[in-house]
């Protein structure tokens, strides 16, 4: 031990802190010798004897994530003729981005001769250019939410001969949902699905997968802890006051975010890939847990409408760079979603979203909103976006065209099923006067022939304890 300490001190004195740290980590801590015993014992417990020689980490795990330099469309961004269009587009969206700054930095960069200053200017120019939102589709409405264009209304609004209850009231009354008194244990905007709702969640996942897998989608199991660069590459911010992305403590775990949607890891799936144009479009899907820090004080969005953790089945497509390909894939996704929600018997509408609602990456976006009869509002249950080459330029997703040239792909993503809101729509629309809920017929086989939601077996048996500490 003292020999090791002497070596340690020598390393400190020489300033080799890193070396000393490594040495230190190999030493069992003095007053926790039993940990060493436990380490040995655990090896005995599971017969642990690592195959040292063969177990080498894959190179993907040992090499840090390094994105290729972003290949922005400089011909468009730096063209003086495009400035007005881009400026208008920025103004029509949320006003984020400064094309004049981009052009100014570009000009300075072009004129600068000093290599260090040139590098700095280039970095600033790229950062400013990355803030410019995607182009808007010529047919996308311009303006705020009120300018959304109604494409179609599906189903009919049910006329209730009683006052419909909210999903929270029904769920809690029947013992299938808990949303209250969770602030100190799991935090606000969290919930527990129990019994019928938990089963309904699994049924919806299996039903949705049964639909989309038949349409040529490949299911992929995705990681939910991802590098912020992947998130940013998809067009979501990971820093700032109003950021909606959770991060792990960076001091301890490095740069890791929780995926807010499977779109992020699915886009990461194609990172640095060069696809064969003959195999396009590629359609993939994922069932993932989504983590979002967003909250809302709006009355309609209480309950399970806007929550921090939820399950979603997401569709993601990659196709060639032709505008028609992206439009076709987008239409295909919308068609699938329409089929899913129609068969569930929901009353919903399809909206062509206006410029302010597009976000940074989307060129065009269609939302589906289901009628929520309890609070009488249209609640978004699906969103489908064509991001053209916005994400592919940032994540280096390319294909080789007929001529053998590399081009950036178009990416399209869409919600096949967001579980809590779909449950909300089903429960509120199919509730009966006696408080039960009839499940849509298409779900019966996935519910193991359970046709309705009634009182849970253990409902009313668990009571909250009121407690005030007295000394």
């Amino acid at each position: 031990m003292s020999r090791s300490w002497s070596h340690l001190l020598l390393c400190c004195l020489k300033g080799c802190i890193h070396q000393a740290g490594c040495l230190f980590q190999r030493m069992p801590p003095v007053h926790n010798r039993h940990l060493k015993w436990c380490r040995l014992n655990s090896q005995l417990t599971s017969g642990r004897k690592h195959k040292q020689s063969a177990e080498i980490s894959p190179s993907e795990w040992t090499s840090p994530l390094q994105l290729e330099p972003v290949e922005l469309d400089l011909d468009y961004l730096c063209n003086p003729d495009s400035v007005q269009d881009i400026q208008n587009n920025i103004g029509n969206r949320k006003g984020v981005g400064d094309i004049h700054l981009v052009r100014k930095l570009y000009e300075c960069y072009q004129q600068e001769t000093d290599p260090i200053k040139r590098q700095d200017l280039h970095r600033k120019f790229i950062n400013a250019a990355l803030n410019i939102p995607n182009r808007s589709h010529p047919l996308a409405p311009i303006g705020d939410e009120s300018k959304a264009r109604l494409v179609e209304t599906v189903g009919t609004q049910r006329n209730f001969d009683f006052e419909p209850l909210t999903v929270v009231e029904i769920g809690e009354k029947l013992g299938h949902l808990r949303t209250d008194k969770l602030t100190h244990t799991t935090g606000p905007k969290t919930y527990f699905f129990k019994d019928g709702f938990a089963k309904l969640e699994q049924a919806l996942i299996r039903y949705t997968l049964s639909k989309i897998l038949k349409k040529g989608f490949q299911l992929v199991g995705v990681p939910e802890l991802i590098h912020p660069d992947i998130v940013e590459g998809c067009g979501f911010k990971t820093t700032g006051e109003t950021v909606q992305v959770y991060r792990l403590c960076p001091e301890t775990y490095g740069q890791v975010c929780l995926a807010g949607t499977a779109e992020m890891p699915l886009a990461g799936y194609f990172l640095n890939e060069v696809l064969d144009h003959k195999k396009l479009p590629v359609r993939v899907a994922a069932v993932s847990r989504c983590y979002r820090a967003e909250t809302s004080g709006v009355e309609e969005e209480q309950g399970i409408y806007r929550v921090h953790q939820f399950t979603k089945v997401e569709m993601f497509g990659v196709t060639d760079g032709n505008s028609s390909s992206g439009d076709n894939l987008l239409s295909e996704f919308i068609g699938i979603e329409k089929e899913i929600f129609s068969e569930l018997g929901l009353h919903f509408r399809i909206l062509d979203m206006p410029s302010v609602e597009l976000g940074a990456p989307a060129c065009r976006k269609f939302d589906m909103e289901a009628w929520m009869p309890a609070k009488k509002f249209w609640g978004e249950i699906s969103s489908t976006s064509n991001c053209t080459d916005f994400q592919s330029r940032r994540l280096n997703i390319k294909y080789r065209n007929n001529q053998g040239n590399l081009r950036h792909c178009t990416t399209v993503n869409g919600t096949a099923c967001a579980i809590p809101r779909t449950i909300m729509a089903i429960v509120e629309n199919f509730q009966e006067k006696d408080g039960t809920v009839l499940f849509p017929k298409v779900l019966w086989e996935f519910m193991d022939d359970r046709t309705q939601l009634s009182k849970s077996y253990h409902h009313g048996k668990i009571h909250w304890i009121k407690f005030s500490r007295s000394k």
Partner: protein
């Protein structure tokens, strides 16, 4: 962590202690303490020892969310009424010492016994002084009522006032002693592990059952080579130890989720879907150490003014990210009274589990940061009922894995490898060819009333008669680490899920 005196001069030692590099080394050492080979918590006693040598704020490390001393200025209120039954645990110090020894925990039971006695003495003195203060106040009130304004009032009241002041001063002094000893005893008591079940072996694991041992095989290829060759997994650096399950395995995962869920439902387990993030109360109450960043992830805190600031006491707390685990159930059941007629209760949940990777994690995908797990909780009235429940869950786990026909064994884990919340644990381990060892796929743990006493989970006949209630006994099981099972199935080249019978 004290730097030993190696004959160096005082000034040099002082210099070394204050150097940033030494501080960093000490911090790394502290971080190294968090290496959890067998989920052994770093107790508050160890925290105390660390503090002496480190220039690290004691307050940061000696916090608890279960016990909040009255001496703190009310920013955080105690959320649960702890029922640690300290006197019962200390009534047999020999048993407690044997427990500590078997678990290989360095802990001074005698010190705790002494402090507890001192705590009770001070409590007695405090109560006596409080009674005297009350009595004095009553007498003063009578005097004021009867004699105020009269000439003798001053003479009669003066000694009472003096006495009142004296008692007040004594109370002030005794209170500061009380808070100190109370915090010491409570934090130490909170760090005590569960008792040991009589069936828990002391030193070595016991193999209880073994199945399909004749099918054990080894592999020339490493685990990575097998996965890469199969083309069923895509390794990636989009995240820590990230990987994508290609279509076949992704479908297999969904089918396995369905398989385990349905079998448990048919056997009377109620399905829950739970949040993945937990507050420190739940983490600590479940026996985990929320200071240990190797045991569970901690989310980056947002500013207090941001987002969920509806409750000031909870918003300043960290949020822990663990996924499917004991905390999933504990979070719901915290401060719950369960009617006895509903017991025993069987619950299950399926979902993602997230565990930081440490140097002691299994290699490759078996030690992944993210996995899909199926976990169960049995809630019982008594130790006997929980023993039956434990065996029931054990049988369930074996019956679920047996159809896969892979070499597996049931092992009872020794005391030294138990988590602090466990009194007994059985593991179901499957032989993994690439590792040439058995790897844990599932487990069943008896928790007795350890968690329920910490989180106020009670049962009884009438929820209005809390004083007649008792803490529940819990049995927690990780029925299956579905992700590990998948990798195992790839190695055995068996990608079919057994048929669901009678469902």
């Amino acid at each position: 962590m004290k730097i030993p005196n190696l004959g160096l001069s005082r000034s040099l030692l002082k210099f070394l202690r204050t150097r940033t590099c030494t501080q960093n080394l000490l911090k790394q050492t502290w971080q190294q303490q968090d290496v959890r080979v067998n989920q052994r918590p770093l107790t508050y006693c160890y925290v105390g020892k660390l503090h002496k040598g480190c220039k690290i704020s004691k307050r940061y490390y000696s916090t608890s969310r279960l016990f909040i001393s009255d001496s703190t200025a009310g920013q955080i209120s105690q959320y649960v009424d702890l029922d640690l039954d300290i006197d019962a645990r200390l009534s047999d110090p020999k048993k407690l010492k044997a427990n500590m020894e078997a678990r290989k925990i360095q802990f001074s039971v005698d010190e705790l016994v002494t402090n507890r006695r001192r705590m009770l003495d001070i409590k007695e003195q405090k109560e006596r002084l409080e009674m005297e203060r009350e009595e004095n106040a009553k007498q003063m009130a009578v005097l004021v009522r009867e004699k105020k304004g009269l000439p003798e009032f001053s003479a009669l009241s003066r000694p009472m006032i003096e006495r009142g002041k004296e008692v007040k001063e004594k109370l002030k002094s005794i209170m500061s002693q009380w808070w100190e000893v109370e915090e010491n005893v409570m934090l130490t008591a909170l760090s005590l592990p569960n008792n040991l079940h009589p069936q828990t072996p002391d030193s070595s694991p016991e193999v209880v059952e073994e199945y399909f041992a004749e099918r054990k095989m080894s592999s020339d290829l490493s685990h990575y080579e097998i996965m890469k060759k199969s083309n069923l997994v895509k390794f990636s650096n989009v995240g820590p130890r990230a990987y994508y399950l290609q279509e076949k395995l992704a479908l297999l995962e969904q089918n396995l989720i369905r398989y385990f869920s349905r079998r448990l439902e048919v056997d009377g387990f109620i399905h829950w879907t739970c949040p993945e993030m937990f507050k420190p109360v739940v983490v600590e109450g479940s026996g985990m150490d929320f200071m240990n960043r190797n045991e569970l992830f901690c989310l980056q805190q947002k500013s207090k003014s941001d987002f969920d600031s509806s409750d000031s006491s909870s918003s300043i707390d960290s949020v822990y990210f663990r996924g499917v685990s004991l905390a999933s159930f504990s979070a719901y059941l915290t401060r719950s009274f369960i009617e006895e007629s509903a017991l025993p209760m069987r619950l299950f949940t399926v979902g993602k589990s997230y565990v930081p990777c440490t140097q002691n994690s299994l290699p490759g995908l078996y030690g992944g940061v993210q996995s899909t797990k199926c976990c169960v909780l049995g809630i019982c009235r008594s130790p006997e009922e929980s023993w039956d429940m434990c065996n029931n869950i054990r049988e369930k786990v074996i019956s679920l894995i047996k159809p896969f026909k892979v070499p597996m064994r049931l092992v009872v884990i020794p005391a030294s490898c138990l988590h602090s919340s466990e009194e007994y644990r059985m593991e179901v381990q499957i032989w993994v060819p690439s590792q040439e060892q058995y790897v844990m796929m599932g487990s069943v743990s008896m928790l007795s009333d350890y968690v329920s006493r910490r989180l106020m989970i009670r049962c009884g006949e009438n929820p209005n008669h809390l004083h007649k209630s008792s803490p529940v006994h819990m049995v927690y099981g990780e029925v299956m680490d579905i992700s590990r099972l998948i990798y195992c199935m790839v190695e055995y080249n068996k990608l079919e899920v057994p048929q669901l019978e009678n469902t």
